[in-house]
Symmetry: C2
Subunit: 448 residues, 2 copies
């Protein structure tokens, strides 16, 4: 018997992710517990031309798992075994449904480290992280999910098994199908197992928070720090509006005076020896204050570190709980960030929306949250997309991309022609056809 | 007029790379100086069904640029402009023909760092490095070429321009064509410009050399070092036979007593503060001696560092100058290395060949050089490939790959079915067809 259910309750549960307020009811939900069951589900559906929508933790922000044309949502959540943590070779073999934080804790317990750390780590899955090439706060130093995926086990839409890569950190053998699947948002194959690269766990961490008079100064300080050979783990930015928003949500002023500055930089360094980190912090401090920092807050204890992160960590939920909004995931070369921020605010004035911006400034990745507030239906459905289009044109013209870590999914696909010309789009469509000739795998995603 | 020449002298010059003693004469050689010229050459050849073989520094070890079916070698060597080094955003925009060492020197002059460092850095090109996903000695800490390629400008075989990626370190926008082109060995498109990620230049470096009683002990020490949170830049291994070979070639005993040990580990660490490196060296020393090191040599000065690297750096040329040989580029999870080494030696005894092994032990990448010595034609052409096949079966069965950094090219393609099943091979062929429907781009490579 196939592990497929059709109760309305279950179908409703799998009708949405964290993207805006969008809901699409699937015809059924499959919950395979083994790769064999998954294979049977796929083969059965393929023969009957049933669309398949792979699903992880349903924390996506681009609607990548929405069953927009019905079909079956195939949730990988029961394929959640940590098959192997290999302390000799610094790698892990995990099933797609493993929660990211579960992997973090398991490898850290044996002195190892899996760097990708999306905000949703407590509920997102490794499979979903791979499908979207998830980033997170540690990408400045450690890169994104793609840097940690060495090999994959997947099924093609018709159920044929596809293995890619190897259990090695180097590989120049044939086309890199692994990296083609990473970030393909479940449109090419259904990933069920991944071999991941691990690192030794950094022994010590230090966290710093600086208030800058303005965003331009904050970003300039980041450039100065990096150019001088300091490579922090995380460099997070929050504009003043985000600080106010977060404080209102939390109902407390975590960092007295933070609301008076133009923007905050949260910087974390990690390493092997405390002495080094103290020296790095002293250098960061020097560049920060020389570059226009006007306030600073430090963490001495784990509790205080947690407190420095609290505002930043709450922003996603704070924005979400405030009502309807659109989250754009712009990424630009980092020196372009001040202009990008100005562009967002100028568009807000022009189109009449309020925005809250924050993000991974060390990577140039700015999350632009456009709040609906009192906008009427027409403005929300017709005018705001025009503003987003203008924003994305600015991003692409400056060497950036319309998604840094959330993916294109359902809600961003209309903007793809801003990033890609017909040659590129046609090529991508043809690649899709090689993997999925019937077009049954996650239809309606990525392509405009 | 097209920049195409047909003199025998030039055709002979472009008839070979560093692979064994193989030579194939192209029908002509194109030497475009601009991307516009390159585009014209491609469009002209495409219309006339002329095979195109992209070529970089011709330092390849798998015959990737050999014009095995004639056609035109298109050398990118005159497309060698360093278009931009962006110190604000830590990136470089370079043309494919830039020599890797030229890029190293240019970015280091402004305090930045491009980590990939193949042995042939003085003559190989960035385009060739990208085509093969070149590795080198710093991959333990910094990864291979693929980690530094953010975006590409290329031409499809018919001359249509193809841009991939962006100038950002993060990007989750559409399929990752950049990473599909990296390592595709000039079979999908002709890359002419790359946007590369740079890092801050490490301020200090320390180099250590240890002699171990046997290879197993050396590898176990590597695992111990990594597990304890020390991440060296380089961890190179030389078996005793390689030490003897190198010393004979150099005509000097660089490290007295080195010939008496089972194998050498060359370890380099880099970082921001000398104190940290001293502490890391002390820890490495502790793990090395606890793990069976019996001798050690240190570098205090730049000259002494050079001396510690000299033996390792000479091995490629030493082997090449000794007569005909085959270089295999095995990679396995690093803890498998001692067994891999035993397997090589056992195969040597069985098939009657001598081998010299060394490589990037921190990555599990072992270069296995099989010397022809006195083997007769039949043994060399029929028996040795059987041994290689057995070797590769061992590698794949242990989670490894048949090429870690050299690529498949012409000489390894017959072994592809050991790594890949028909599903994978068919998929790769179909991907090739999407890019190159006429099969004109670097024909005869990668596929068996």
């Amino acid at each position: 018997m196939l592990p497929v259910e059709t109760s309305l309750e279950l179908r409703e549960k799998y009708s949405h992710d964290w993207t805006e307020d969008l809901r699409f009811l699937p015809d059924a939900v499959a919950l395979p517990s083994t790769s064999e069951e998954l294979q049977k589900v796929l083969a059965y559906a393929y023969e009957r031309d049933i669309p398949i929508i792979p699903s992880g933790g349903r924390t996506g922000l681009s609607g990548g798992m929405l069953p927009v044309y019905g079909g079956w949502v195939v949730s990988l959540e029961k394929l959640n075994r940590l098959r192997r943590i290999d302390t000799q070779n610094l790698l892990a073999v995990v099933e797609a449904g493993v929660i990211t934080q579960t992997l973090h804790e398991a490898v850290e317990a044996v002195g190892l480290f899996y760097p990708p750390d999306p905000s949703s780590r407590g509920s997102c899955t490794i499979g979903g992280n791979i499908a979207h090439n998830a980033g997170g706060v540690r990408a400045v130093k450690y890169g994104t999910t793609r840097e940690y995926v060495l090999g994959l086990e997947a099924f093609l839409p018709d159920g044929r098994p596809l293995r890619t890569g190897s259990a090695t950190v180097k590989n120049s053998t044939g086309y890199n199908l692994t990296q083609l699947l990473v970030g393909s948002e479940g449109t090419l194959a259904v990933i069920h197992t991944a071999t991941l690269k691990l690192l030794p766990k950094p022994r010590h961490v230090r966290t710093l928070l600086y208030g800058f008079s303005d965003a331009r100064a904050a970003v300039a300080a980041v450039v100065e720090i990096l150019q001088n050979g300091i490579l922090p783990t995380a460099i997070e930015f929050m504009e003043r509006d985000a600080v106010l928003f977060g404080q209102a949500y939390l109902g407390e002023k975590l960092y007295p005076g933070a609301e008076e500055v133009g923007g905050l930089l949260l910087i974390e360094v990690d390493g092997t020896y405390p002495e080094t980190l103290e020296a790095e912090c002293a250098e960061i401090e020097k560049y920060a204050f020389a570059g226009g920092a006007v306030r600073s807050w430090y963490a001495q204890t784990a509790d205080e570190r947690e407190r420095l992160w609290k505002l930043r960590r709450c922003l996603g939920v704070a924005v979400k709980s405030s009502g309807p909004y659109k989250e754009e995931d712009t990424v630009v070369p980092r020196a372009v960030l001040p202009e990008l921020l100005e562009k967002v605010k100028a568009l807000g004035r022009q189109y009449g929306f309020r925005s809250v911006c924050y993000g991974h400034v060390g990577d140039g990745n700015l999350h632009v949250n456009i709040l609906r507030d009192g906008l009427d239906d027409r403005a929300w459905r017709e005018e705001v997309p025009k503003a987003v289009e203008e924003l994305f044109r600015f991003v692409v013209a400056n060497g950036g991309a319309i998604s840094g870590e959330h993916g294109i999914g359902w809600v961003q696909r209309r903007y793809m022609p801003i990033q890609f010309d017909p040659v590129q789009l046609t090529l991508m469509r043809e690649l899709k056809r090689v993997f999925d000739p019937k077009g049954l795998l996650n239809p309606g995603k990525i392509f405009p």
